[in-house]
């Protein structure tokens, strides 16, 4: 590729990066809140994204329900699902060593993915609505409606989460548990329940992202795994415990991913992980530092 050709696609790539990054930040937000508050690397997170994408798919193909309308019900269902999982499974080992929770969520992921594989088969599916792929131009730059909407919805949900955590009683309880569990207990916060709510929120965020991802990518039972790793990198980039950090991390990741894809498509992930290791070593607290959802 010549320099001229490269420069000519820079604007489009920036737009691509923003739109990809927006959705990724939404995935990473849920991952971040569970990690930050519960100190769990939730490897089942990607599986929630996948299951929710299937939910949107079946609602669309079975009942003709527009995927955008599936977002709210998906979030609700997965909130309950996540709540139950945390309350009745993960809470049992939450005080055991890190490796234990790590492997536990991984076990859950294996179950979800294989049940999906068993029920839905390995077929590739995708949601094709009447407006799929349609978009508008800004100069030479193409902006697809769905992806623009996904970016806006992601930012909207991130904003809502931020307000929820800082303005509501439950939100304050969640943050209190994340900062100092003993103090929170003394103030009368129910730890087990708060954990379950937090995990439920994480699952709900994954569900919202899952619907949006299902609309612009293909859906398979194994689609989720990649999101765990990406979420981790994003959270580390932006700083654990920060909503703006996750969003910023997501956008940066999106940009790096897109430009790596333009220049060295084969080494996209290698570059992402080189970035991860570098950040971990140079600035372990992330770009925005540890803020604990303030």
């Amino acid at each position: 590729m010549t320099l001229d050709q490269f420069l000519s696609i820079v604007p489009q790539s920036i737009v691509n990066g923003l739109m990809l990054g927006g959705t990724l930040s939404l995935v990473a937000l849920g991952f971040s809140i569970v990690w930050g508050i519960l100190n769990i690397i939730n490897l089942a997170h990607g599986a929630f994204v996948m299951l929710s994408a299937y939910f949107a798919y079946f609602m669309f193909t079975g009942f003709g329900i527009d995927p955008f309308l599936s977002i709210a019900p998906a979030m609700l269902i997965f909130f309950v699902f996540g709540y139950v999982i945390q309350r009745y499974i993960i809470n049992n080992v939450i005080r055991a060593p890190l490796l234990v929770t790590f492997l536990l969520t991984f076990g859950l992921e294996i179950i979800f993915v294989n049940v999906a594989l068993n029920r839905f088969g390995g077929d590739y599916r995708s949601i094709t609505t009447a407006y799929s792929g349609i978009g508008f131009f800004i100069g030479d730059v193409r902006v697809p409606y769905i992806k623009l909407a996904a970016l806006l919805i992601s930012l909207l949900i991130a904003g809502a989460l931020h307000l929820f955590l800082s303005r509501t009683r439950t939100g304050n309880a969640i943050r209190a548990v994340g900062m100092d569990i003993d103090a929170a207990k003394l103030c009368g916060v129910k730890i087990g329940q708060t954990y379950a709510i937090t995990y439920g929120i994480g699952a709900a965020l994954a569900a919202a992202a899952g619907v949006l991802i299902g609309m612009s990518f293909t859906i398979t039972p194994d689609m989720g795994g990649a999101f765990n790793l990406r979420s981790f990198v994003i959270v580390v980039l932006g700083g654990l415990g920060s909503v703006p950090g996750a969003v910023l991390g997501g956008l940066i990741f999106g940009m790096v991913d897109v430009f790596a894809g333009v220049l060295v498509p084969g080494l996209k992930d290698a570059i992402a992980f080189a970035m991860l290791v570098l950040v971990l070593i140079v600035r372990p607290q992330g770009i925005l530092g540890k803020a604990f959802y303030k």
Partner: protein, 437 residues
């Protein structure tokens, strides 16, 4: 305390050794008893050849095959197995395989390889050493085939495979592997050939390939052919086989405005290329994919966006071969297949059936089902089947059968459009840009 551990360890080893053996015997559960099916289906088969005293079989020749019935390629594995089963049944109904002056019945013994290459090798070994099958049929996919053929080679048992098109399966100097499909490098050749004949003005080709051995071969073959015809390959890039996003590559492709865009990957990648091309308004006069358009999921997923897309096909229902085998024509094959399974045969089934037919011919030519004699007969085989010409080059792959081209057309159906002499519809060309559809 440690005594206890050691005793238990010893016990555990013993238990493991013992417990590993029984599955060989007990694991017939997933295997269908072919004999039971044969009789029930004999009445169903509508166009089966006249049955000469079917009961007087001198014995049974058993084929072994690892097939993916679960895991990532469970559908393709099922198509493969259905193809094997149908051919075994139809041949048995027609009197079995003639060895010398005796007739033998065919049977199939298979295991589920979980779409995993390692497991496929393990099961191949099990089929040879424990089930003592006579001859081997291939698993589904290039990866499992690559591993399974190694085992077959070691034990000097022929494996006729129908579902692994990567040529490097055959570039290892193996003597017992035979592939009846056209090799990877021919997959997209037909699309280019056709595009040139439709429009002498096309100049630029862009190729996107998944980084796995089959897809790379397809891309390489397409590139060589394009360049030999004076076309310019303006973009030829590979992406990780598990990728979920190709938009970056497509952004680059868009800037190069190629006349033809070729995708060499798998169904998922093909869907991604089409979806994201529409997102980004990337256009071309012709779109061709190696794998994807032939499967029903392609149309299901993309709806109208699948229109105008070409795909390479090993075999289609519409082809006009007149074969010297029990199935004779693609048309007749389709009838028999639909009668048994109630769905239109995908090419995976057809090629799998053709693999069984190939063995029948080789065994009859050798007058024996001794692995080495069958191997030598396979090497010399040359006949036309309902699936096309079957003949192996010195490496054991069928380089003689041409590939067809299918197109998903605006009437919502899939039509065979190339080679021109067997085409059932005219190609719709050029594809309109996305905003004009």
């Amino acid at each position: 305390m440690r005594t206890r551990i050691s005793v238990l360890m010893l016990l555990a080893i013993a238990v493991l050794m013992v417990s590993c053996a029984p599955p060989a015997a007990t694991n017939v559960a997933p295997t269908q008893a072919p004999a039971a099916q044969v009789t029930s289906a004999a009445t169903k088969a509508p166009a089966g050849a006249t049955v000469p005293a079917a009961q007087n079989f001198a014995g049974t020749i058993t084929f072994g095959a690892p097939v993916s019935l679960t895991g990532a390629t469970n559908n393709e594995g099922k198509y493969t197995k259905d193809g094997y089963d149908l051919a075994v049944e139809v041949i048995n109904n027609a009197g079995g395989v003639k060895v010398g002056d005796k007739f033998y019945k065919l049977a199939l013994k298979f295991y589920d390889d979980e779409s995993n290459a390692d497991t496929s090798a393990k099961l191949t070994e099990k089929l040879i050493t424990e089930d003592k099958v006579n001859l081997l049929l291939g698993p589904y996919g290039s990866g499992p085939t690559l591993n399974a053929t190694v085992i077959a080679e070691k034990y000097k048992v022929p494996m006729v495979e129908a579902n692994g098109a990567a040529e490097n399966i055959f570039n290892r100097g193996f003597k017992y592997s035979f592939g009846i499909l056209s090799p990877g490098k021919n997959y997209l050749r037909g699309v280019l050939e056709m595009a040139i004949s439709l429009d002498p003005n096309i100049k630029n080709v862009a190729i996107l390939a998944a980084n796995d051995n089959f897809s790379l071969e397809v891309a390489d073959g397409a590139k060589q052919y394009a360049e030999s015809k004076g076309l310019k390959v303006v973009y030829n890039e590979k992406y990780p086989p598990t990728t979920k996003d190709i938009s970056s590559l497509l952004t680059v492709v868009k800037g190069l405005s190629p006349d033809v865009i070729l995708g060499s990957g798998h169904l998922q990648d093909a869907l991604l290329v089409v979806k994201q091309s529409k997102d980004l308004n990337v256009n071309a006069k012709a779109w061709g994919f190696s794998v994807g358009p032939a499967t029903p999921e392609f149309r299901d997923s993309l709806k109208k966006d699948a229109d105008y897309i070409f795909g390479g096909a090993q075999w289609t229902v519409a082809l006009k071969y007149n074969g010297n085998d029990v199935f004779k024509t693609p048309d007749n094959y389709t009838k028999l297949f639909m009668a048994k399974y109630s769905y239109e045969p995908p090419y995976q089934s057809a090629e799998s059936s053709a693999a069984v037919i190939t063995y029948q011919k080789a065994i009859e030519a050798a007058g024996s089902f001794d692995p080495d004699k069958v191997r030598d007969a396979l090497a010399k085989l040359d006949f036309v089947s309902f699936y096309g010409q079957i003949k192996f080059d010195e490496r054991g792959i069928n380089t003689f059968k041409p590939m067809a081209v299918e197109q998903l057309q605006t009437d919502g159906k899939k039509h065979t459009v190339w080679p021109a002499d067997v085409a059932e519809a005219k190609p719709q060309y050029p594809a309109p840009t996305w905003d004009k559809r």
